[in-house]
């Protein structure tokens, strides 16, 4: 049954190649793409069932590509954390692909749209499953290559400009990533994550000096912060998100961004947490790299909440508001991670990760829904400028109610998924006893209410503008939005099972021992390679 681990990747890979081969038969291509999307969701569900949800679930499954044993071969690991992240992608990925089929103009440059969106999904999936650092890098690149094309997709001056910035920034980030990967190989003599964790836990037996790991982890952290769009690396987000087609932006915000969050959690907590490295910098001291990660992540998260919230209040287009809101929401995800890294209590650490995961799930579905809704509004009215919109609520009640649910989920109103996300994040802050964090979260939440209600008032209420009066809303697009809104509601109503799933994910993220045991990297003598 371990073959299930690689199935989601194989499904999207075959769909990607299939859509490329059938590019001259639009119907076949669409059928391949959509069955790939559905197959992906089914494969992820089967994997989640097998690894976590089933009664006697093992909790972790590994796959050695090409039958080469760890740490030499390519290892894929599906534990609770990976599977939880994959479930998010399996929600927004198929929705985005079906939406694309209705959204793209008939004779648009579709030829490479489908293969590339499948490759984007492949990169995200691979990053969540990769069991070694180098392959994490490779899957990051697969994901980025596809997203480069999408940012430049429409080919206008502002798209080219956005793509240029995006490519330049990410090339630098990739170079830094590779440098850090090389440094970690030089320090620990291995790139397999389980093997790194094993060696760092007992550096004397492995004959290595773990001290450089802290600095290298800082490099990695900056790279992942760029992907997640945390302040001060948030500047690429608004232009890139506005340039890419809306269904892809939903994927970028819903899935690609979470890869950054996932990598921070996986590397800091599962892999590097066991290293005994004394850290003593001004204000920061402790005995593991986490003591260093925590405060830095906290500053970045706080900055993100403020910059994102304040930026979103002043935007005049739907995508602009959503893009800045994404920056702020990632701050909300990173705050509990930062608290989890700083604390020494195992319970609080687990609660922190859990809060981040639940919040990330909420953000994926809600923000995915809203970006897709921006696409619907644009294809119906021809604009997403808030000045030219108004009265959408009366014009298309179904679209408006879906957007309303998504907006309330961002704000965090019960019984939607967003409420539980916010509740857990606040709970983490209360348990940590940090009043300043609580104040920051409150300010962030107020800003969220401010920008969402402003966008809602201007776009959906008020007098209908000519653009809205002539709008032709696509029913299938709206059906997808309503489906996502139902998912938000379902997560809230069935929160108990979601909580158990997220709890398993948070436990898996902190359980280095089972991770190492499952991958079972064979001992290589000392710090020297044979």
């Amino acid at each position: 049954m371990d073959g299930l681990v690689i199935t989601p990747m194989l499904v999207v890979l075959v769909a990607a190649v299939g859509t490329l081969l059938f590019r001259r038969q639009p119907r076949v291509r669409l059928a391949v793409s959509l069955s790939g999307a559905v197959g992906y969701a089914v494969a992820v569900a089967a994997l989640a069932w097998y690894v976590v949800i089933a009664p006697a679930a093992p909790g972790i499954a590994t796959y050695q590509v090409g039958d080469w044993p760890a740490p030499f071969g390519i290892t894929l690991v599906a534990d609770g954390l990976s599977v939880f992240m994959l479930s998010m992608v399996a929600t927004i990925g198929p929705a985005s692909l079906v939406f694309s089929a209705r959204y793209l103009p008939k004779y648009d440059r579709r030829t490479f749209y489908y293969p590339l969106s499948h490759f984007l999904l492949l990169g995200v999936t691979g990053a969540f499953l990769a069991g070694d650092l180098f392959n994490l890098f490779v899957w990051f690149e697969v994901m980025l290559m596809a997203s480069y094309v999408f940012v430049a997709y429409y080919g206008g001056p502002q798209h080219t400009r956005a793509a240029f910035w995006y490519v330049a920034l990410n090339l630098v980030a990739s170079a830094v990533f590779l440098l850090a990967v090389g440094g970690i190989y030089a320090t620990t003599g291995t790139l397999n994550m389980a093997d790194i964790a094993q060696r760092l836990a007992d550096p004397a037996a492995a004959g290595i000096d773990p001290a450089p790991v802290v600095g290298l982890l800082a490099l990695l952290l900056s790279v992942f912060a760029i992907k997640a769009g945390l302040v001060p690396f948030q500047f690429w987000i608004p232009t890139a998100y506005r340039a890419a087609p809306p269904p892809i932006t939903a994927l970028l915000a819903g899935a690609s961004k979470k890869v950054g969050i996932y990598a921070i959690i996986r590397l800091s907590f599962t892999v590097f947490a066991g290293a005994q490295v004394p850290v003593s910098l001004p204000w920061v001291s402790g005995s593991s790299p986490l003591a260093f990660v925590g405060p830095i992540l906290f500053v970045m998260a706080a900055g993100s909440i403020l910059v994102g919230g304040l930026g979103a209040v002043g935007r005049d287009s739907v995508e602009g508001v959503l893009a800045y809101s994404s920056i702020g929401q990632v701050g909300f995800i990173a705050i509990p991670v930062a608290i989890a890294a700083t604390t020494s209590s195992p319970t609080l650490r687990r609660v922190g990760i859990l809060a981040a995961l639940v919040y990330a799930l909420n953000h994926t579905i809600a923000k995915g829904l809203l970006f897709l809704a921006a696409g619907t509004i644009e294809s119906a009215t021809g604009t997403t400028d808030l000045d030219e919109l108004g009265g959408l609520a009366g014009r298309s009640p179904a679209l408006s109610s879906a957007v309303f649910v998504g907006t309330l989920a961002l704000v965090g109103i019960p019984p939607l998924s967003g409420f539980f996300g916010k509740l857990l994040v606040f709970d983490t802050a209360v348990r940590a006893g940090a009043a300043s964090v609580l104040a920051l979260l409150l300010v962030g939440s107020l800003l969220t209410i401010a920008y969402t209600s402003r966008a809602w008032n201007r776009g959906f209420w008020g007098v209908r503008t000519p653009a809205v009066e002539d709008a032709a809303v696509d029913p299938i697009q709206v059906a997808i939005l309503v489906g996502l809104a139902a998912a938000i509601l379902a997560v809230g109503v069935e929160f108990e099972s979601v909580y158990r799933f997220a709890d398993a994910a948070a436990t898996a993220a902190l359980d280095t021992e089972s991770y190492v045991e499952a991958v079972d990297p064979q001992a290589v003598n000392g710090g020297e390679q044979p």
């Binding site: 890979l13 075959v14 190649v17 490329l20 081969l21 796959y63 050695q64 590509v65 090409g66 039958d67």
Partner: protein, 154 residues
């Protein structure tokens, strides 16, 4: 660049490049070489032809076709063929990875057979990795030549 020296050199060098590419390709799985580098080398042979004889040489000189006037570079028949090679290579690579699943082995598992006393070659080792490498070769040749001819024409 189409001087007599250039053309004469190209005539002599291109076959050598192609043979070297072939040898790199065949021994790639256990010596330096492989589908990627063989593909790059093959592309340089084509690039040399383009530089020495012009972009239309393949269609007019080798295939003996007429050139449609006023065509856009990305719709060119040769470029379409390159793009097919690219897709075909990708399909071959993925399919070669999927074959082991039929034998209940992990994705991308490989095996090999050895032949002794092969005429001319002596000892020959035929690895299943060759199929994957062939896919990579096609992707590299198809991809690079598409870029080269489209960008070269513009």
């Amino acid at each position: 660049m189409t001087t007599v020296i250039m053309r004469t050199t190209a005539r002599a060098v291109v076959p050598i490049i192609l043979v070297v590419a072939l040898s790199l390709f065949v021994e790639g799985h256990n010596l330096p070489g492989g589908g990627f580098i063989a593909g790059v080398l093959t592309t340089t042979a084509f690039a040399l032809l383009y530089i020495a004889f012009g972009l239309d040489f393949l269609e007019r000189g080798v295939l003996g076709r007429d050139i449609e006037p006023g065509k856009t570079p990305s719709r060119d028949r040769v470029v379409i063929a390159y793009r097919r090679v690219f897709s075909f290579g990708l399909a071959i690579s993925v399919a070669s990875g999927l074959v082991p699943l039929l034998f209940d082995l992990p994705f991308l598992s490989q095996t090999y057979v050895e032949f002794e006393n092969v005429p001319l070659y002596g000892h020959l080792e035929l690895a299943s990795a060759l199929a994957f490498d062939f896919g990579v070769y096609c992707v590299v040749v198809g991809g690079l030549l598409t870029i080269l001819s489209v960008v070269g024409a513009e």
